[in-house]
């Protein structure tokens, strides 16, 4: 069970959150103009590193804000927690 630092509410238990997968997956500016391969990459290809991973979480049982954290996938240590508008 993780203790996740919500940028608005502070450290909260994992059960209060919804996981949102990898962060910073760029939504194509104009999906209609990209080719199938580019669109498929957006849909299906995600980083799967052994180590730090930026990912989205939603504090759905709290302030209901989406935000990003950087979590080490080996140790589960959370190195950073930042708001959506903050730079990665």
């Amino acid at each position: 069970m993780l203790l996740i630092p919500c940028p608005w509410c502070g450290q909260r238990d994992e059960i209060e959150f919804r996981y949102g997968g990898a962060a910073h997956v760029e939504y194509p500016a104009d999906p209609e103009t990209v080719d199938d391969a580019t669109w498929a990459r957006y849909l299906f290809v995600r980083p799967n590193p052994k180590g730090p991973l930026a990912e989205r979480w939603c504090h759905s049982q709290g302030c209901r804000r989406w935000f990003n954290i950087v979590r080490d996938t080996v140790t589960h240590q959370i190195m950073r927690s930042y708001r959506m508008e903050e730079a990665p």
Partner: protein, 936 residues
């Protein structure tokens, strides 16, 4: 009796009566069941699981493999406890177990609690090391939790006779306990075993609170408590477990761990025999010889595998006239039904007690759970902690540091360092007290006494696994200790092989010609000791297990005999059976009422999201597949949403209730997921949108009134509201008073009949429902449930998201291209052009009419094309919904069929166990195809 006249930490003024296997015995306050049994001369405590061999108490702690007992009778009966850990109380009733306990058939009425706690430093283990660590961290000012598994702190040295500052170590112990109690930020948990070490220094601690009180336990007090501790720093001072050496006939009652024997003598004043032989490969067991000699036992010999044991300990023993048989091993034993009678160590030695020490294994279980790595220490002959990714330090015997002086020093240093790491103190520990030390003669690793006779040599006592079993496993090709574990079951008992694991690795290594270090250990997983399910359940049992959501109208449903269905956490009326009616009869009756008269349904469970803001329209246009630009205030529109991959995600009705304000309904089970989904897009991709979302699912109660006569019921309820088809057309919203309640009425229909959905503030829900039932009475209004609703919507071919779809279905697959805008962008649009999404032979939603009108296909039935095919038979689809229809007078179904829209009027077959069931593919609409009924 083998109780000493004096000594030990028992209270001889408080005798306690107990029974073991129905025989009465007496012990003292401070005894464990094990020490009391030994004091009463009970040597045989169990029979082994496979071979039925007699077994005695082997250890004095958590590692006990033999003395499993069932304690208490009736509802309080607890199975699979270790006699070495059961504290004695007056009236205790215990039975020996043959490796398997019995759960009480009665529900456990005791209370179990959970408690969340945070601290700067968590110290696990209250022996000398842990006490020193807690003291150092606490004095530095840190918030400390010290968790100790025993009734009193002190750990192993409660069973020793060490001197600290020239006085008995227990004096020092009392002083430390007093010091700790005086520190306001230090909390000492007794009878509290850390059982699991998880990510981010989350440690689960199982605390036993009342079991030791027996019948005197206060009923209001939680029997056990589960602590979930978050610690900035953890100090593991979990000590070490002594391991035996393996030799022929090594499982007789009377063969015990040497350290355990010391504990029985010094802590409990019990001598577990009369004539004792020591068998060792290290110095620690010599202290056992001295303790037994002082207690008045005959100690004929110390059998030491080391060729020339010398120095402080062996000399002290020799000075007492005890023979040290150097370079010798115990190669066999003999005995009877009271256990051990003699051992063979190059000569026959009569004895009823054999104290064995093969060295010590640091208790690294929690350290491994914390993702720490081990290394094998050749000098200490054991696995010790190495790298640790979490904020954890290991100190004392758990770290391979065995002397009392070194343990205290290491504990003080670890405590001070842990406190300093979180901002308390300078990290320099206070000076350690003076402890007398004796120069040690090093251990010689020794695991298995060679045996050519084919005698039984046990590796795992609880599992009854022998060296021959290990040899068989290696012979079968197992090389990994994990494989050997699973092949032989070594280490899979309730003791998790605490006295067997490392020995088995060493024996595997010997058979493979590899060192122990190369073999390694198996992975230690939580829990460290068995934990009852009741503790993990805590108070979340029965009604508190999962919240049940009910609508404001729920009491009426209960009073009127509704049968309920679970929809997510909601309890929804499934159908309302009359006396003597089957479900099928009730559902057909309810369906007929909707189609021919009027009926009412509680649809308050639908998810509802309030959407407000100047960009609300823009937002809706992107979220839903269809457009809302032309949706005027006072009207509503069906909406479908897809995920980015183009697959249908949820659906509902969007009401335009005011300028820049909408109310969207979702499926009953999907409300939370849809809200999170909307928030994700709003917050991550469109943060510039001025839109706010609010869940109002619980704020509204909604009653659907459906059927040809529903308009008459509405007129009776709301005389002032024009309800004719022109004034109140399909998909219009009207606000006004209904039954004297402010209401919003929508003319929408999920049944395909003329229907009105009346929304009121939830606290008026029951009153509205009662008013609807009263006003509808002259028209024969009928309450209907979810099953009738499912049948009615299926007759109209309305898909239920999650029943007729499964996350791989597009709107086009459902035949719902009409709800997909060609003009604007929306989530998932681009995916509808992907080659796979656009191919013509996808699974389409179609209708099925079984060729035999009474044939009800089971939902989930697979469909094939040709009745006679050679295997493998190609599956072309499956049934998603299947019902008996009152309106059609026959059965029908919805199905997903490959290229289904090109198979109209052709036959498919459902291969069911009895035979093939033919059905004809149709359009997925069976009733009022033109929508005249609904729109009239």
């Amino acid at each position: 009796m083998t109780r000493l006249a004096s000594g030990g930490r028992i209270d001889r003024s408080r005798p306690l009566r107990f029974t073991f296997d129905a025989l009465p015995h007496t012990g003292f306050a401070g005894d464990t069941l094990a020490s009391a049994l030994l004091a009463n001369g009970v040597r045989v405590v169990s029979q082994s699981v496979t071979y039925g061999r007699l077994r005695g108490i082997f250890s004095a702690g958590v590692e006990e493999p033999n003395a499993l007992v069932q304690v208490g009778g009736g509802t309080g009966s607890e199975p699979m406890l270790r006699a070495t850990q059961v504290e004695l109380y007056d009236g205790l009733v215990a039975e020996s177990l043959n490796a398997r306990g019995r759960l009480s058939p009665e529900p456990d009425v005791a209370r179990y609690d959970k408690l969340f706690a945070h601290c700067d430093v968590l110290v696990v283990g209250g022996g000398s090391t842990g006490l020193a660590a807690a003291l150092a961290a606490g004095k530095a000012g840190a918030r400390v939790i010290l968790a100790d598994e025993q009734a009193e702190v002190g750990g192993t040295f409660l069973g020793g006779r060490d001197l600290i500052d020239g006085r008995p170590a227990t004096d020092w112990l009392a002083e430390v306990a007093t010091d700790l109690a005086a520190l306001p930020e230090v909390r000492v948990l007794s009878r509290a075993t850390a059982v699991g070490y998880y990510d981010q220094n989350c440690v689960l601690i199982a605390q036993r609170r009342t079991a030791h009180l027996g019948p005197a336990a206060p009923a209001a007090m939680a029997r056990q408590r589960l602590w979930q501790v978050r610690a900035k720093q953890v100090v593991l001072a979990t000590g070490a477990h002594e391991r035996p050496m393996v030799f022929a006939e090594n499982d007789r009652p009377g063969i015990m761990l040497a350290g355990a024997v010391r504990t029985y003598v010094n802590r409990y004043g019990v001598v577990p025999g009369h004539r004792a032989v020591i068998f060792t490969n290290n110095d620690s067991a010599y202290a056992c010889a001295i303790d037994l000699d002082d207690a008045g036992l005959d100690v004929p010999a110390v059998v030491d595998v080391r060729p020339n044991p010398a120095g402080g300990w062996p000399d002290r023993v020799r000075e007492r006239g005890i023979e040290v048989l150097a370079g010798q091993v115990v190669s066999d034993t003999a005995g009877g039904n009271r256990g051990l009678e003699s051992v063979w160590a190059g000569q026959r030695i009569d004895c009823d007690l054999l104290c064995v020490s093969g060295g010590f294994n640091p208790a690294v279980h929690l350290f491994i759970q914390s993702q720490g790595r081990l290394r094998y220490d050749e000098i200490l002959a054991c696995f010790v902690p190495d790298e640790a990714p979490q904020a954890v330090a290991v100190a004392g015997a758990a770290n391979g540091t065995f002397g009392l002086r070194d343990c205290i020093q290491e504990g003080l240093a670890a405590g001070a360092a842990a406190a300093s790491a979180v901002g308390f103190g300078d990290g320099h520990p206070a000076g350690a007290p003076q402890v007398e030390t004796v120069a040690e003669h090093p251990i010689v690793p020794f695991w298995l006494v060679p045996d050519e006779s084919g005698a039984t040599q046990f590796v795992d006592l609880e599992r009854d696994v022998t060296v021959a079993d290990v040899r068989r496993a290696v012979g079968a090709g197992m090389q990994s200790v994990e494989h050997v574990k699973r092949y032989t079951t070594i280490g899979t008992g309730s003791d998790q092989g605490k006295t067997a694991g490392i020995n088995s690795a060493a024996i595997v290594g010997a058979l493979l010609g590899q060192p122990v270090a190369a073999i390694g250990t198996t992975t230690f997983r939580p829990p460290y000791v068995p934990v009852s399910f009741a503790l993990f359940a805590g108070r979340t049992r029965g009604q508190l297990f999962d919240p049940a959501r009910v609508t404001p109208i729920h009491p009426w449903h209960v009073a009127h005999g509704a049968v309920f269905e679970n929809v997510g956490q909601w309890k929804r009326p499934w159908y309302f059976p009359h006396d003597g009616e089957t479900m099928e009869q009730a559902v057909l009756r309810e369906c007929r009422a909707v189609r021919e008269g009027v009926a009412a349904m509680d649809v308050s469970t639908l998810g509802k999201i309030d959407i407000q803001g100047t960009d609300a329209l823009r937002f809706l246009n992107r979220i839903y597949t269809n457009a809302y630009d032309t949706l005027a205030v006072g009207h509503c529109r069906y909406g479908l949403m897809c995920k980015a991959d183009g697959m249908v995600f949820d659906d509902g009705v969007v009401m335009h209730v005011g300028p820049d304000r909408y109310l969207a309904t979702t499926t009953s089970g999907g409300a939370a997921a849809v809200l999170d989904w909307m928030e994700e897009w709003l917050q991550t991709e469109w943060p510039d949108f001025r839109v706010r979302l609010t869940s109002v699912s619980d704020q509204w109660a909604t009653v659907a009134v459906a059927g040809p006569r529903s308009r008459e019921v509405l007129r009776a309820l709301a005389p002032a509201m024009a309800a004719d088809a022109v004034s109140f057309p399909f998909m219009a919203i009207r606000e006004g008073m209904v039954a004297g309640i402010p209401a919003r009425v929508c003319r929408i229909s999920f049944s395909g009949e003329l229907a009105f959905e009346i929304n009121v503030a939830s606290w008026y829900g029951l009153r509205l429902w009662e008013a609807v039932m009263a006003a509808g009475e002259p028209f024969g209004i009928t309450p209907y449930g979810t099953e009738a609703m499912h049948v009615l919507r299926a007759e109209k071919g309305y898909a239920i998201i999650g029943q007729d779809t499964d996350g791989t279905v597009t709107p086009q697959d459902l035949g719902m291209s009409w709800v997909v805008s060609k003009k604007k962008d929306f989530i998932g649009r681009r995916s509808h052009r992907r080659a796979d999404t656009a191919r013509p032979d996808r699974m389409h939603l179609v209708g099925l009419l079984p060729v035999e009108p009474e044939d009800l296909l089971p939902e989930g039935a697979q469909l094939i094309l040709e009745p006679r095919q050679e295997p493998p038979v190609a599956i072309v689809g499956h049934v998603t919904s299947s019902y008996r229809s009152a309106a059609l007078g026959r059965t029908f179904a919805l199905a997903l069929v490959k290229g289904g829209r090109d198979r109209m009027a052709s036959q498919v077959y459902a291969p069911l166990p009895d035979r093939l069931h033919p059905a004809t593919v149709t359009e997925p609409i069976f009733y009022d195809k033109e929508g005249l009924v609904r729109d009239g």
